[in-house]
């Protein structure tokens, strides 16, 4: 058991080291991304000044910059959880390196998980930058339990990773045109309350919002960090996320195993 875990960690480290080396071979892009985050936070700061004097009935949006920063940082993380698994497969397929990676004595699920590890490292760094720039330059402060916010972040990311596994399964069999990516990628920003309160969506779009796990994740994190709520107050969104996880985890793993088997049978594992 310990040996297997050590081997897994060694392999995850191999992928992280590889992706780090690849990332620093594109240094300019790395710094450009940091600058982009600073520009985005600055832009939202000035937009927030429009609403500086006007009150709002939505308690999470009384400091709109804090709400936006939280929304953007968390959405970045959620989307990494969702897209990195499928992207890991797709980019290796397109580079032509998937075959050589799959020739090593590593299982396909390990390859998928390990090769998305760097995305999470990068997402953590980028998401932290939103908070850091908000705090450093624009005086944004958060309160409440960071541990509880982290719990929301982890559970929601896991739920999205399950959807990501479904997306990766789709990429493995159909290669392109992933419907999960289209629905969740574009849908989350619009319907999860990243830029405005979900209450404004009304009953029709509100229903879409209530289906998305990102809505509960983001709501929970804002309630904790902005409104300072405790565990008893955020129990409902947390429970919903756990139910999502309980249903999606076994289902996505089952679908993934079938997709791998099918791709091997068709001999299309390395095609894209």
């Amino acid at each position: 058991m310990i040996h297997a875990l050590t081997l897994l960690l060694l392999r995850v480290r191999a992928f992280v080291a590889r992706d780090f080396q690849l990332a620093i071979s594109y240094r300019f892009e790395f710094f450009l991304r940091i600058l982009t985050i600073l520009l985005v936070v600055t832009t939202f700061y000035f937009i927030s000044q429009i609403f500086a004097e006007s009150g709002t009935q939505f308690s999470q949006w009384r400091d709109p910059l804090a709400a936006w920063i939280t929304g953007l940082a968390v959405l970045n993380y959620f989307m990494t959880g969702f897209s990195s698994l499928a992207n890991a497969i797709r980019s290796e397929q397109m580079q032509g390196t998937l075959e050589s990676v799959l020739l090593s004595p590593v299982s396909v699920p390990t390859v998928v998980i390990a090769s998305s590890a760097w995305d999470f490292v990068l997402a953590t760094f980028h998401s932290s930058l939103y908070f850091f720039f908000g705090w450093l330059f624009f005086g944004v402060h958060f309160r409440g339990s960071f541990a509880l916010a982290l719990l929301f972040l982890v559970i929601t990311t896991l739920v999205l990773a399950c959807l990501g596994i479904l997306s990766a399964s789709f990429a493995m069999v159909f290669k392109r045109g992933d419907p999960f990516a289209i629905l969740l990628g574009t849908g989350s920003a619009l319907f999860s309350g990243v830029f405005f309160p979900t209450q404004l969506l009304g009953s029709g779009f509100g229903a879409v919002s209530r289906v998305l796990p990102t809505t509960y994740g983001l709501d929970g994190i804002r309630r904790v960090l902005i409104e300072g709520q405790g565990l008893s107050e955020v129990r409902d969104p947390l429970m919903i996320l756990f139910i999502y996880l309980a249903v999606l985890l076994p289902f996505s793993l089952w679908v993934f195993a079938r997709a791998v088997r099918r791709a091997k049978r068709e001999g299309s594992l390395i095609q894209y």
């Binding site: 690849l22 075959e99 990676v101």
Partner: protein, 344 residues
């Protein structure tokens, strides 16, 4: 020592048992339901069976599309067979795929299988870690391999900056990272210059003859290379194994006859014609630079050769040289292809 001369234990390390592979049509049921036209499924392999023994260099030859790559990929667990089994060192390629991969190194001529922006060392280090080598062991192994494969001066160069030949050496070095007992080589000298190709062949030979010995299954279009390196060969044509054996056995099995050319002197053309044509059919005699060249075809191990020699000798002839010409591997391959085409 040549592979064909190498003694040693002959246990099968790779067992291919009645493997068939038909590539299914993706979304076949859906296409049928929508009444969309579908192509027939491609049958890449049909009931392929053979064993590769420990320490052997085994060659798989055939035309493009014959099924060599599919078979190699099945052994490497990248593709699952439709039926039949591939067992490597006792592990099944479908049920124990991870264990099989731990026994096998595959080197292909595919340049895209590396990360072009990483250096030689970074690439090898990444794959070494995937094979479960810790950093200390991996570094030591990389130093050994870059020396062995003449890549020492290039370790800090990006993979994308290497020549095609060096990229091929990298693929070989990567396959050897975990010292696997089985190596699958897909055209190992395709992009190498003649000198480098000769060194690569010597290296392949030394791996198979080393201690512990590495079993090598190689596919190639270079038939002279296959003959030089491989102790046994399988000819694959349209997904079927047509012949398995040493190159000598395959040629002999394929064509029992051989062409013999004798160069003689001490006997005139008239005398030779007189004594030979009365006893033997289809013997050609030509005069060349004050010698005679006597050509004839004989069946392997028949008495015709001995009798012609005696007749010429009795007539005062002196044998200067004897040349025999058997079917080349290329001719064997071509004839199997022709047979297949005739069978339809």
């Amino acid at each position: 020592m040549k592979a064909s001369q190498r003694p040693g234990p002959r246990e099968p390390i790779i067992k291919i048992d009645r493997i068939s592979k038909t590539f299914p049509i993706p979304l076949w049921r859906l296409k049928q339901f929508l009444r969309r036209p579908t192509k027939p499924p491609v049958q890449a392999l049909r009931e392929v069976s053979f064993d590769v023994h420990t320490g052997e260099i085994f060659g798989l030859i055939g035309r493009n599309g014959a099924g060599k790559t599919t078979l190699t990929k099945i052994i490497a667990t990248l593709v699952q067979p439709t039926s039949g089994t591939a067992v490597v060192k006792g592990f099944d390629s479908v049920n124990d795929d991870e264990k099989v991969r731990a026994q096998v190194g595959l080197a292909t001529a595919e340049e895209r299988s590396f990360y072009w922006r990483l250096t030689v060392e970074q690439n090898l280090m990444f794959f070494a870690r995937l094979y479960g080598l810790n950093d200390r062991l991996a570094r030591r192994r990389i130093i050994e391999l870059v020396e062995q494969f003449e890549l020492k001066e290039l370790v800090s160069r990006r993979f994308g900056e290497l020549s095609t030949g060096n990229k091929q050496r990298m693929a070989f070095a990567r396959a050897m990272l975990a010292k696997p007992p089985v190596l699958l080589l897909d055209e190992p000298t395709r992009s190498l210059d003649p000198l480098a190709a000769a060194r690569m062949r010597a290296l392949i030979n030394s791996l198979a003859g080393g201690d512990p010995s590495v079993t090598i299954l190689l596919t190639s279009h270079n038939l002279s290379e296959v003959e030089e390196l491989c102790s046994r060969i399988a000819i694959i044509s349209r997904g079927q194994i047509r012949a398995v054996g040493t190159s000598k056995e395959i040629r002999r099995e394929h064509r029992q006859s051989e062409r013999v050319m004798l160069t003689i002197d001490g006997i005139s053309l008239e005398r030779a014609e007189q004594s030979l044509s009365s006893t033997f059919d289809e013997v050609e005699i030509e005069e060349q630079d004050q010698t005679l060249v006597v050509s004839f075809t004989r069946e392997t191990n028949d008495e015709r050769f001995d009798k012609i020699l005696r007749t010429l000798h009795d007539g005062g002839g002196r044998i200067l040289s004897i040349e025999t010409e058997r079917a080349t591997l290329l001719e064997v391959l071509e004839s199997y292809e022709r047979e297949q085409e005739e069978e339809g």
